[in-house]
């Protein structure tokens, strides 16, 4: 856990769960696996608050618990998963993807499950139906069956999965005794059960769920559906899936994002038709390709031709030409692995990710240091090791400026110096000094810079909000007054009077504040795209080596 990761995790936990959970969470991240007593002692917080925070973290899948290092007889240890906390930054992207694939219903299902961490299917369906009914016109309501079908679609395409099973805690001991896990050996904390280890991971439960969404009237606030986790049973009968909790399958969303990235890169580099061909190839190999595979299964040109969408009716020879173009492209998105069936083609996933990461690095250098420094950077990436003189010659940049740029890049650690001694005594006059760029370590460094960037953006946003807290509160109060006046039917003059309570300069200030906060939020979303790309590249490079 690097400093920047810990800092970012702390800020994300604070924004979503409050300062208490943040304190417990960051302490666990820093210290590794700890028992409950150790956490209470080291954070100087009350036992009750620590227990609640741990419950919240486990509920959202960010904390795992299991028998500690000492074995099953000893107290339970808790461990926070840093990756999972960092996914919180990407929640809007997950929700947006669900919306684009499965419409508003899918969007709300994913949003509810992300907010609650885990939910049973019946609870999710009821909550979403109520929310949809709220937004529909008076008299209409959403049927449960529609929501159930959207839910089933999400599960069939593996975007939702069952939560991993929890080991039995033994027959109910009285609360005063220590938690002895006497049952079948519980998983050690280092290898918690993966969701995939359950063969029923993607099986929908057979439940009998009929009904329509309820509209929540403003007078009833006892019906608050957002708080309770257990479904409000109409007739007191259990629905039949009390034990089966569903969570979002982040890995599947990430595969989807990766595919989207490759397709849009092809569309930018070549043209729309080539991107459609690549999209078809990826769609066909969705189920046959492992998540960490370096390339998809080989597909013959005949198959691709048959599977192309009808709106892109191109002739067979044209398809062959496009495929040849794709194979010859230096970005190496598509490779040819054989000649049977009109040519066997694969999509090179890892190589595509590496190229996308390389493009990101080059673009960073270009935007920060100028296009000539970017030229030097690209040169070094391609030629690996070059001497000072060679850099000047190949890049066609005057010596003095080339030197300056190289030293700037060197000071930023984007370029490294490699010494190759000619003699065993490493004498400086008899040593080659070569400049080099290594892609993977540079990508790692840039990823840490991205985390730092997002942390800074969040802190700045919190600072801006705090500075203008008084204004924001005032405007919220006035909005509340206006809303209540409108519902009770007040005259326009009264409404005007209330509106005038905010003076014009204050209004301007509020407008500027809103603008700033929107910009900062947007920037976070955009930096997250780079984070995703670099993370995927680093992960893929880790598996291929």
């Amino acid at each position: 856990m690097t400093t920047q990761e810990v800092r970012l995790c702390g800020l994300l936990l604070q924004e979503h769960f409050g300062g208490v959970v943040e304190k417990v969470g960051t302490h666990l991240i820093r210290s590794g696996a700890l028992t409950l007593r150790a956490i209470v002692q080291e954070t100087n917080m009350s036992l009750d608050l620590v227990k609640k925070s741990l419950c919240v973290l486990v509920q959202h899948g960010m904390c795992v618990f299991g028998a500690g290092r000492r074995g099953p007889g000893w107290p339970v240890e808790y461990c926070v998963c840093v990756e999972r906390v960092l996914y919180m930054l990407r929640y809007p992207r997950y929700i947006y993807t669900a919306k684009s694939l499965y419409g508003d219903t899918g969007e709300l299902i994913v949003e509810e499950i992300l907010q609650r961490g885990q939910m049973t299917m019946s609870c999710a369906v009821k909550t979403v139906a109520d929310r949809l009914t709220q937004n529909m016109e008076d008299g209409c309501s959403m049927d449960y069956s529609e929501v159930v079908s959207a839910f089933s679609n999400l599960v069939e395409t593996h975007f939702l999965q069952r939560c991993p099973l929890v080991a039995e805690q033994g027959s109910a001991p009285p609360p005063t005794t220590s938690t002895l896990e006497t049952a079948p050996p519980p998983p050690a904390i280092t290898c918690p059960p993966t969701p995939e280890s359950n063969p029923d991971c993607y099986r929908l439960p057979q439940i009998n769920l009929r009904g329509r969404g309820k509209r929540r009237r403003s007078s009833e606030d006892g019906e608050d559906q957002r708080g309770g986790k257990k479904p409000k049973l109409d007739n007191g009968q259990p629905v039949g899936d009390e034990d089966i909790y569903w969570q979002v399958n982040f890995a599947r969303f990430h595969l989807h994002f990766r595919d989207q990235g490759i397709i849009s890169a092809v569309a930018c580099k070549l043209d729309q038709t080539s991107s459609e061909i690549v999209r078809t190839m990826l769609r066909m190999s969705e189920v046959t390709t492992q998540p960490s595979a370096a390339h998809t299964q080989p597909l013959s040109a005949n198959e691709i031709f048959r599977a192309l969408p009808p709106s892109y009716s191109i002739g067979r020879p044209i398809l062959d030409q496009y495929l040849t173009l794709l194979v010859d492209d230096p970005m190496e998105f598509v490779g040819k692995s054989g000649d049977s069936g009109g040519g066997m083609y694969v999509v090179n996933l890892h190589r595509a990710l590496a190229n996308l990461a390389r493009a990101t690095l080059e673009s960073v250098v270009q935007e920060r240091f100028g296009s000539r420094s970017a030229r030097i950077f690209r040169l070094l990436l391609r030629k690996r090791h070059l001497e000072q003189k060679q850099v000047e010659d190949f890049a066609m940049i005057p010596a003095k400026e080339a030197k300056d740029m190289l030293y700037t890049l060197l000071s930023e650690n984007l370029v490294q110096l490699q010494e190759i001694p000619k003699t065993p005594d490493h004498a400086p006059s008899r040593t080659f000094y070569l400049y080099t760029v290594t892609q993977l370590p540079t990508a790692r460094m840039l990823l840490q810079r991205c985390y730092k960037t997002v942390s800074n953006l969040i802190e700045r946003r919190l600072f801006e909000t705090k500075e203008n807290k008084r204004h924001l509160e005032k405007s919220q109060r006035i909005e509340a007054i206006l809303a209540s006046l409108q519902t009770t039917g007040a005259e326009p003059t009264q409404l005007q009077e209330v509106e005038e309570m905010i003076t014009a300069p204050e209004r301007q200030q509020l407008e500027a504040l809103r603008n700033h906060i929107n910009k900062l939020d947007s920037s976070e979303n955009q930096v997250d795209e780079s984070i995703f790309l670099l993370e995927s590249y680093i992960k893929s490079a880790g598996t291929t080596r």
Binding site: E15, K52, P92, E111, Q115, T179, D521
Partner: protein, 215 residues
């Protein structure tokens, strides 16, 4: 001898500068003697943000999600700081914003030790009166104290509750603590309460016999 080499070589570097490209006698930029400024001037301005429907929608999603999380019971606020004295205005200030409905996790999926003792306390309060009746667990001190404080106590039940609560060391309820404090103060002293003489009787007595000397 040893010092000579060190002093001599201070102006020289360990490697030949020409190889790296700095010629002899060339003007190098002056070395910086202070940390870089906090907001250094940027020669290349950053590229403007991506705008579009998708970006705006994701922005709205993000802000709504954040607002929604603040209202859910997963957002744990730190315990309110203890005030020295309860004030009348507290009722009308921020004290009304209680936690939204506490969520009830599925305890089968969590380790048993995380289960808070709330249920036990409720059970204690309900069974305490019955405990008093059903189980006359004779505690002699308790009986003596009860008899002595019977005049001062308005509610015998609350004292029994405190006995039960005292056995529960992990009690966190603020109400319970306040009552507990009072009880501790009144019951754990060594002095028998009836011995305390608050002086009223003394003054009353002396008024009657004015001719006796007061020592």
């Amino acid at each position: 001898m040893t010092g000579r080499g060190r002093g001599r070589g201070r102006g020289q570097l360990s490697f030949n500068m020409e190889v790296v490209g700095i010629g002899k006698g060339e003007n190098l930029p002056p070395s910086t003697l202070q940390p870089t400024p906090l907001f250094p001037p940027m020669e290349h301005k950053p590229v403007p943000l991506v705008v579009g429907e998708e970006a705006e929608y994701m922005l709205a999603l993000k802000q709504e999600f954040r607002a929604a999380m603040k209202t859910l019971p997963f957002y744990i606020k730190p315990a309110a700081p203890k005030k020295d004295v309860e004030r009348y205005s507290d009722k009308y200030q921020c004290g009304e914003t209680e936690n939204p409905s506490e969520w009830d996790p599925d305890w089968r999926r969590l380790p048993k030790e995380l289960r808070s003792r709330r249920k036990r306390l409720l059970k204690e309060k309900n069974t305490a009166p019955s405990k008093q009746i059903a189980q006359p667990k004779v505690n002699k001190e308790e009986i003596i104290r009860k008899l002595e404080t019977l005049e001062k106590k308005e509610d015998v039940h609350s004292s029994d509750e405190e006995e039960g609560e005292k056995k529960n060391p992990e009690e966190e309820e603020p109400e319970g603590e306040e009552e507990y404090d009072e009880e501790e103060f009144e019951e754990e002293t060594d002095y028998i309460m009836s011995y305390f003489d608050n002086g009223e009787e003394f003054a009353g007595d002396s008024d009657d016999n004015m001719d006796e000397a007061i020592y």
